[in-house]
């Protein structure tokens, strides 16, 4: 009996070893080689942004970037390069990176989608609403109005950089979290289910908002304060926030939120103005 068991064990072992020894072939390692074809100046400019800030500037039209009830047009190809070089670099990236080394490398959204026109909502609850930009979390920002590119058009330029800094405020808000105290300042004073547009500027200011659009919700409130400060001279901002304590509180929170990260919003505004004056 014992010999039988021994034989069984020996046979089983032999079969297992024979099966187990059947070696597989190693998958050969082929290092990934980047085959970037930069065929023109636009490619090079976008690639440089990508390498430096890890941000993709996307101009190719894709309908999925906007909701079904909104309409927009793609950017004109010829305008993409000057827009990136003169608006994105000079009026968006440089103002931050001059103050804090590598700030934009750390914080720029992963994707910036360029639209030629604004996003126009013509159906549904946001009837007749036009959006200048959209921030999706901290990863994607849609910038509109590229087809209006004209460095001599002060109103267009101001609207562009106001939008860029507004949407970027959303990015920083999502990434770092705006201070809780900010949301409490105007608690109960937001538009709620009402359209913000029914409130006058004076009413909005009396409730602690930079402008009535900020009454939409706390996030827009925060971002509209940022675009307000970076488009308004410091002295005027201080005059405005002196109007009431609610404005004063929010101003201090927003200003210090940025200052804590190495960015003085007033300095940023002054720089933007100097660039505009010399474009």
């Amino acid at each position: 009996m014992s010999n039988t068991i021994a034989c069984f064990v020996a046979i089983l072992t032999g079969i297992s070893v024979a099966a187990g020894c059947k070696k597989g072939t190693a998958i050969p390692y082929e290092p990934y080689e980047e085959h970037i074809r930069l065929e023109n100046a636009t490619d090079s400019a976008l690639y440089a942004i990508y390498k430096e800030y890890q941000t993709k500037i996307i101009y190719r039209w894709d309908r999925r970037y906007i909701t079904a009830d909104a309409f927009a047009s793609p950017p004109e190809y010829e305008l993409v390069l000057p827009y990136v070089e003169n608006v994105l670099r000079k009026l968006f990236i440089a103002p931050y990176d001059r103050q804090k080394a590598d700030f934009m490398r750390a914080n720029m959204p992963i994707e910036m989608i360029l639209f030629g026109t604004k996003m126009n909502y013509v159906e549904g609850d946001e009837r007749n609403f036009s959006a200048s930009g959209v921030a999706y979390g901290l990863s994607r920002v849609i910038v509109t109005g590229v087809n209006g590119y004209d460095l001599k058009d002060g109103a267009w330029l101001r609207n562009q950089y106001a939008t860029l800094h507004h949407e970027f405020a959303h990015v920083l808000d999502k990434k770092y979290g705006r201070p809780e105290a900010f949301d409490k300042v105007s608690e109960g004073k937001y538009a709620g289910g009402t359209s913000y547009a029914v409130y006058s500027q004076a009413e909005a200011r009396s409730r602690g908002f930079w402008r009535n659009y900020g009454m939409s919700n706390e996030s827009e409130d925060f971002a509209s304060w940022v675009d307000g400060i970076v488009t308004t001279p410091k002295a005027k901002v201080l005059d405005i926030v002196a109007q009431n304590d609610l404005l004063q509180q929010k101003y201090k929170i927003v200003y210090n939120f940025y200052l804590d990260k190495g960015i003085d919003l007033h300095e940023l505004q002054a720089y933007l103005q100097s660039i505009l004056d010399n474009l």
């Binding site: 072992t13 070696k23 190693a26 400019a45 430096e52 670099r89 000079k90 080394a101 590598d102």
Partner: protein, 488 residues
Amino acid sequence: MKRINLYITCAWCAGMLVLAACKKVTTTLPPKPLPPAIDSLAVSYKALLTANTAGWYMLYQPSDAATATAIRIQFNQDNSTSIVAGLKGYHEEKNDGSYSFDGEYSLQLVFSDNTVFGELTRRWNGFNKFRITLLENGEFALRRADGFDNKTILLSKVTPAHTQVLNDQVQAIYGQIALEAATREKLQALIGAQPGYYFNNLLLENFGAYLEGIDTATNEITLKWRPEGSATAVSTTLHYDLFPGGITLEPAIHYGGYTIDSLYFGAFDDGAIEIVSSGNAGAGKLGWMHVPPYPYQTAITGAPAGYTTADFFIRHGELPRFYGYTLDDMDTYYSPALQPYIQDLKDYFVSQGFKADEIFRLQFYNNNYNGGSLPDDHATRNQLQLLVRNGAGSSTWQVFFYDLQQHGPNHVSMVSFGTSGSSSAPYKDKVVEFMNEIFTPEGFTVVPAGRNGTAATALQQLRLVSRKDSRIWILLLVANFPTPIYFD
């Protein structure tokens, strides 16, 4: 029992053998090179930068508006720099600057603000921080760290060719400085000039401003002008730079369709520098002169819109008349240059038996017609009346007639008819001689000169300033109209 243990041992060995046999061949990845840490990269770059004692060279053009500046940098072990640049003010070696490294994701080379990079940042929106990467050939590639543009600037070991470029720029600066000396001398002459003229202006064919000051220490010029379409003058301080032919203004002045970005100097003469050209605003002068740079503010109350000081002084076809007069204080009512003429006239009347040393005043009555007692006669409508006491101590009014012509909003000329009231006839020649001496064909500017007090009924004051020689002027108090007309 021993047998069972043997079986277990065999089974375990077999199992291990199976496991060993089953071990598949796997792909082994090559070790992934890790990028050097920023700090260690900075150490290695500093070693390379300081090792080259001959220095490094770069050609930096911060913006399209600026020319490329050649810069030679010696990086020292103590983080100080020795820099020579082809930029005025930095063209001689400066040793008070420093360098450092910054950056979280990529290494940045930072020059201190007191180096040429600080100046390029302030004046041409350059930047003093650069992302730095070592190239295979030993050069460094620099790019602005603020992302303002994507241009690469090479930082190379100095070669004779680099030195030549830098020397050419430096020599050009020395040449420029020599030529600018003449420009600087003219500005110094203007600043030191005290001809006593009433107006200090930048007056061009198509632009006028008051010159409020020149600061040669800060290279600033302050001008005050009225922007097109505005009634309010604004004082503005501009930066200027010398060039061999004059000065450039930064920012340029924009006035309507005119842009004044530079002033090309001619000769300095009689308290002013001739301006040969000025952008597209024409020629003119900078400095002391006899006329204002632009018309004065029109009446702010009591008169129709656009009513000028000349309108007010002449009152052509308007009633009531204009009545402006001096009082007795010589220093208040007569310019120093005019006082000898007044004194001479006073002395004359004293010699004629008047007590002119007690009271002697000039009174101007224009459009002096009340529709009744005075004739509606052109030849007698405008009068200079000398209020002077006679020998008995009674006031007398010696009347002399003149004509008035308006040449501009504030520009009036007076011509004596050579006639007088009957009682004044004996003194006519002397007074007419005085009038012709003072009121020349060039005329005078009617300058609003504030009020004689702060009360609501305070009198408007006007100053008649000679356009031939603005050192001659008379200050008049203007009698209140039923509805006062005020200019300021």
